[in-house]
């Protein structure tokens, strides 16, 4: 961990620059000072402010809520999606996690299914299409039964919530040597498999979402568990095991 808050860090930043999806990119090196109390993205804001004052274009990077919940921020920092701290999104990462003199490599999430749009921004629309393939309960807005007419054991509700905490950032894909989207897909399959509301569409959901995942060009799971290590919400690979059971069950039962 870095030191206390009144010191300044001098950093060498290697940041990915790429003007568009069809052009080659390269690292651009900048030397900058940062305060340990800054967030990582505030450090990048300062880099961008300085660049613009010098008449140079800022780096494009995705971000929005800056409190770790919207899933918009990404970045691979020194080889790790969302950087060095566990269960921490890039926007929640603070410069106190770095030391004076550090060299920091900043690049986009890399996966065949996530093409770079510009600099550090990628296209994650495949994740939406996986949800479209069954990540829902087919219930129209209307007048469903009273919410308490369907008691759900607390343990299952809690496990469903653990899975539902996924923010859809795609770090699991970026961390996986095969660029698989298993953890993302499994989190949604699991949430609904653990709840009675999900039961009627259990088979079609597991089959549909897994097929879509493959169609999008994501790789297969070979049990490296890098996804779980990178997940900023601590989603467990138990969910992948559950999805595999759901898929197997659905394959046997499918008509």
């Amino acid at each position: 961990m870095g030191g206390h808050s009144d010191e300044t860090l001098t950093l060498t930043l290697n940041i990915w620059r790429q003007s568009g999806p069809d052009t080659a990119g390269e690292f651009e090196t900048h030397s900058r000072e940062a305060s340990p109390a800054m967030s990582f993205l505030e450090m990048l804001d300062v880099v961008n402010e300085n660049l613009q004052r010098e008449g140079r274009e800022p780096f494009a990077f995705d971000h929005d809520c800056r409190e770790g919940i919207c899933g918009m921020c990404s970045l691979v920092i020194n080889g790790k999606p969302h950087g060095p701290e566990s269960e921490t999104t890039t926007c929640q990462l603070h410069m106190r996690s770095f030391n004076d003199g550090d060299v920091i490599w900043i690049e986009p999430f890399r996966a065949k299914a996530f093409p770079v749009l510009r600099d550090l921004i990628i296209d994650r629309s495949p994740l939406d299409r996986i949800i479209q393939a069954g990540g829902y309960v087919s219930v129209n807005t209307g007048a469903p039964q009273d919410a308490n007419a369907l008691p759900i054991p607390k343990q299952n509700a809690d496990l469903a919530m653990d899975a539902a905490a996924c923010i859809g950032c795609g770090a699991c894909v970026a961390a996986c040597p095969n660029a698989a989207a298993m953890l993302f897909t499994a989190a949604k399959v699991s949430q609904l498999a653990l709840l009675p509301q999900g039961a009627p569409e259990r088979e079609s959901r597991a089959l549909g979402m897994v097929e879509q995942m493959e169609a999008e060009g994501f790789g297969h799971c070979t049990n490296h568990y890098e996804c779980m290590a990178a997940c900023p919400k601590g989603i467990s690979t138990d969910n992948i095991a559950r999805m595999n059971r759901e898929y197997l069950r659905a394959s046997i039962l499918s008509r």
């Binding site: 800056r66 749009l117 921004i121 939406d128 393939a133 309960v137 308490n148 539902a164």
Partner: protein, 641 residues
Amino acid sequence: MNAPPTLDSKVPSGILSDAWTNHKFALPLINPANRRKFKIAVVGTGLAGASAAATLAEMGYEVQSFCIQDSPRRAHSIAAQGGINAAKNYKGDGDSVHRLFYDTVKGGDYRAREHNVHRLAEVSVNIIDQCVAQGVPFAREYGGLLDNRSFGGAQVSRTFYARGQTGQQLLLGAYSALMRQVSAGRVEVRTRCEMVDVVTLDGIARGIITRDLETGAFERHSADAVLLCTGGYSNAFYLSTNAKTCNVTAAWRAHKRGAFFANPCYTQIHPTCIPVSGEYQSKLTLMSESLRNDGRVWVPKTKGDQRPPALIPENERDYYLERRYPSFGNLVPRDVASRNAKAVCDEGRGVGSTGLSVYLDFADAISRDGRATIESRYGNLFQMYERITGEDPYAQPMRIFPAVHYTMGGLWVDYNLESTLPGLFVLGEANFSDHGSNRLGASALMQGLADGYYVVPATVTAHLAGRKLERIDTSHEAFAEAESASRARFDKLLNINGSRTVDQMHRALGQLNWDHCGMARTKEGLEQALKQVVQLREEFWNDVRVLGDGRSLNQALEHAGRVADFMEFSELMMKDALTREESCGGHFREEYQTAEGEAKRDDADFCHVAAWEYRGRDQQHQRHTEALSFENVQLTTRSYK
């Protein structure tokens, strides 16, 4: 020029509790087979937008949905932590639709429309049923039934929650319903796509102009109804708890096309945010006010007491909320809690290196209930606090300070949620309708979903079936005019080539708003700020520097467009604050307070909605009023003593 629209609230007559049912019966219906002939543009995919788009598509309308993020799941509703209110009375502690209605009207300091609020309380129970049916994993008790907590000063437990991520879970529920409709081919979702204008024809909203944020392309979209679900304008203050891209652009563009803007001075300053740490600060982080259920707020009794909190003995601490408000204590509503924090800091009793924070102390709760219990209630919030500040809130009190969080003002809408621009409906935080001058905790999620799941799907027929809507093609002159105006505006921004960055200008605007139109406002300060904001706007259009081009992804250009609108909007917000010569809810004018420093309403002169009409570039806004009448709740002075 048509006659100026009047403020007909279209509130139904008759008994309040039957009004919504009767109104729905009186609304026209559209045959299911005919619905597909109507095209509806829904701008924004937060709780209001996603729920409306999904529901309208389920009903059979052709829906186009737009968001500026890379996925509809990322809208800022996702960041709401605490919960969603509903008058289920599962706890049997005396809650009812009428009590939720009453609390919301009172909490809003009697500046909301009774009928809208009652409808909100009525549909609150349906929302919970709907969300559970979708698989939203609300917190449950060991018996398997839903858990509730008391929240934000309510004296009953009516708040449903999903850990500290209620907004996320509700939004993912609405998003999944939307994705289902996309898969069914009934909704087209356009991501990274920003609405930059509304197209009107014969005084009716007939479509929108968007800018594709990836390619910079301007596009025309015709529609039979346009729904704005684009959130609030907290980022006019630069530092707020809103996500960085939250903006007023869609609402402001619609305003300039004829939609009145109501009560822009009603802004909510949330009391439990993490304080500013330095000048690079890019946003503020809110921590759920559920923390006030167990945390005790205090500052040292003595000015300038620099001792660490642990070394300040009990009798030298001022638990000022418990002292001043013995019956509500730390759970007073947001506006009261925020103003008191400002007051003790103004007295020089604030803590931390900046003196701009107060303690929120869990020591008593931890010794009473044990660390494990506190961890199970607030674990993720404590973790978030530690990540940002580097301080351990189990070992030392949190430091908190108020921050702009939500805006009660918004585009004026009638009971059908239709603005003064016919065919343009406004939902969720973007409208002004339900929270008066102060929103209660856990009510924003309720309103967003009420508007989207239940209200607009019923009321939109009044427009679709009630007006004769000619077929319109996007080659129409009205689209061409709107598109070229938008194009010219972005070209202009790119060609200024001045010396200051967009962020610099935005920060300057934010500071001006915070200093003079923030937690406390004065006539003098507002008059001064009004002059400064006009000047700042001029500087912006002469000195901003936006690099790059408009034909590819350009975040500085996107930001510039939004800041330009905040510059114009801020003037109106200040004007509204200046004109409202009373204190109510989130609007506190220092000239209007009681001897004890509490907000002093003026019901004789200001028991009305102020709705501002845009009258052209070089014209002053015209202020219209809609009188508020209270027939079911008696106007009283709010007291939390």
